[in-house]
Symmetry: C2
Subunit: 431 residues, 2 copies
């Protein structure tokens, strides 16, 4: 059957199709699926890849680091020197431009935000909470947890359109350079959450060229997927930090990263990187907050991964598990939806997500249909500030957690739900 | 030679004594000691007691908890159920009245403070940072890191005198019940840092009887040394949380604890406990801050300690290492200083510190003399808000880290320094 744009069909044809699709949907419902695809969780097979890391800190192997530090005791607020070196290499910064702390880069972002609010960042005239209003730019669709932090603290969020090569920089420049209340922007520059795109050189260069109206403006550069290629040939992200240094603007960026999707999602390492002045400023505040982070976990990581080359080799094992999942979803989406004129989606070469767009007003309905048949997706609208997707079109697909068999069922159900929602929409609008 | 009050000696006698003491001091200086006694760090021998904990989460033993949770992945924001139970038992609260998070109770206190400042606590009309001024009561001498958090955020600190049975409750009641700007009080109720005293039943009962002027007043109850007895017969602390519940005031307290001085100082577990309403309120905010804490470390702890009885047995091994250190310091202090009328000190039955008081104006000089001879003590004044000890008398002694031989030298040097500082003082005041 040749593929035909759904929009070209008659009302009668659409009615018939709807009945047919609903019948198929009922058979899915009858299957009693129970699958949670709401978050970008690694699968157990991926977590197994690091299982031997646990054998590197036993009573036999000990907990004195190779640099002679007793990792059990207090001290070394900014992390073991050797683990700082490893993560500095991963994030392409110097060893004195990084703090390794805790298991959650989200928590480090949250901490950076609370410190900025209550104390200010390096160069602030006053704590951000003393300003009449502050604003953050939010490229959309984006990472829901970034937006949750911003919303929680009553920071006004401004949507910035995402293009195929990153945020719309005309919009970014306009806001950043004209409004001193704009204190920051959230970015996931490589394999962006959820679109999977990597910022182009041109976009990164324009970030380096920003001349903010606020003297304490910060780019929150969440480089969560820097080594998370699905293919041997990964995307290349221009090194913004170096560009900023060339222009003497290196204080303008906070870089975040973690091993959550390298080692253990809930028990990895997180890091914040920034200019020496930012790090010194942050370190003084951090000394008020805690005595030190868990260095046994740090030691475990550095003993297992050794150096960046080994870590990158390790990432190929993740890719070998993840790639078939992305490919399967892509294949099913193409087979089921291509040419119908009711959807478009991204084809990421790394990261954890596929971003999917339905016809206007169909995202919520699609997610609800999946949920009712036992497959939980990320809530529609989640990738937008305040959870409001103005056109109700965007859905984040997270293929990492289910195994292939489940994923196949889920993807087929998803396509069916998209078709049902689309037909319903077309029937409504064609009246 | 019979002991005589130094104050009764003539100027000539004091001058002669000073020369004699300085000669002895020079011989200490020549020894080139290098010892840091500034913090309450456990010794390597204490940390060794838990070394086998590391063998409980290997690739063989696995990381699926006994309750079936994959501890490597995201999830369980408030901690593994079994570890929550363990620490709930330790802190004498219910399993649904606790959050286990991270490795640092200090960080949890800091987080409670930042949340209160930026968002308010359960029952607040507005975030604390929107109040014109807020104040915290600080029993002195107290824990320097509590005061550092308070000072960092510009919260006004009010000194409360410590008595032999806890804070001066007349002062506490007066401030708490009359001034709505007083939002909290810092307490280390058992084996208090640094005095080592445990709040008496009467004091705890008066805490339960408080009727704060601020509806969102909180007692920050840092029960850091709840199972840290030096002797078989430990001090008994009345259960304030239960007393508050009886009066329907259970929202008035945040309880903190950790295993920093039970397992590994830098790689243990921390917890905050509070009423169900407080915990629910906190949990919603915590969900913004992080995805989950490190559950592998949690699993390791619960597999090693099993239950509170085993944990208490384990604490006896710590006591066996710590007790001789406290006894040696006490013995040397008594032998060298008793009857001279120049010092008094506490005789704690648990915890990590001895609090020492010199003649007025002698604490800084004593610490400086020790430092010059290679022994670093906690900075004089550290146990007071803003680092200001009004009479310059208080010194915190932390005997835990050095081994016995070093500790003996350090204690003797300390007594010598106290005598020198005292003689200098008496010579100055007798002019």
């Amino acid at each position: 059957m040749p593929v035909e744009m759904l929009a070209n069909r008659s009302v009668a044809q659409l009615e018939a199709l709807r009945l047919e699709l609903m019948e198929e949907y009922e058979s899915y419902r009858a299957m009693g699926l129970d699958l949670d695809m709401s978050r970008g969780k690694p699968s157990a097979r991926q977590l197994d890849l690091c299982q031997e890391m646990l054998d590197t800190v036993t009573s036999r192997s000990g907990t004195i680091s190779e640099s002679g530090i007793d990792c059990r005791n207090y001290g070394y607020l900014d992390g073991l020197p050797e683990v700082r070196q490893l993560l500095a290499n991963m994030l392409e910064v110097g060893k004195d431009e990084i703090i390794v702390g805790g298991n959650s880069s989200l928590n480090m972002m949250y901490d950076c935000m609370t410190r900025a609010l209550l104390y200010g960042v390096y160069g602030s005239d006053k704590p951000w909470c003393k300003e009449p209003e502050i604003k953050f730019l939010c490229p959309v669709p984006g990472y829901d947890r970034h937006f949750a932090i911003t919303q929680h603290f009553g920071i006004r969020m401004i949507n910035i359109d995402m293009t195929d090569e990153g945020p719309n920089m005309d919009q970014v420049e306009r806001y950043v350079e004209s409004d001193p209340a704009v204190k920051g922007i959230w970015c996931v520059p490589k394999y962006s959450n959820p679109t999977g795109i990597t910022y182009s050189d041109r976009v990164v260069e324009r970030f380096a060229g920003l001349t903010p109206a606020a003297r304490d403006f910060r780019i929150f550069w969440d480089n969560a997927y820097t080594v998370h290629d699905l293919y041997d040939e990964g995307d290349h992200l221009l090194d913004l930090f170096s560009l900023l240094k060339e222009k003497g603007k290196e204080d303008m960026i906070f870089i975040f990263g973690s091993t959550s999707k390298i080692s253990f999602a809930g028990a990895g390492l997180a890091a914040v990187a920034a200019s020496r002045k930012n790090i010194a400023f942050m370190r003084r505040q951090l000394a008020i907050q805690t005595i030190s982070y868990d260095k046994i976990t740090q030691l475990m990581h550095v003993r297992f991964f050794q150096d960046l080359d080994h870590l990158k080799e390790h990432m190929k094992k993740h890719a070998a598990i993840l790639r078939p999942k992305f490919q399967m979803v892509e294949e099913i989406l193409t087979r089921e939806l291509d040419g119908l004129g009711i959807a478009r989606w991204t084809r990421p070469r790394g990261g954890y997500f596929i971003s999917f767009d339905t016809l206007p007003g169909c995202a919520k309905r699609t997610v609800a249909l999946c949920k009712e048949a036992g497959v939980t997706l990320t809530a529609a609208g989640a990738a937008f500030p305040y959870g409001i997707d103005p056109k109700d079109t965007n859905i984040r697909i997270a293929p990492s957690y289910p195994e292939l068999g489940e994923l196949e069922q889920a993807a087929k159900l998803f396509c069916l739900a998209v078709k049902i929602a689309s037909v319903e929409y077309l029937l409504t609008t064609s009246v």
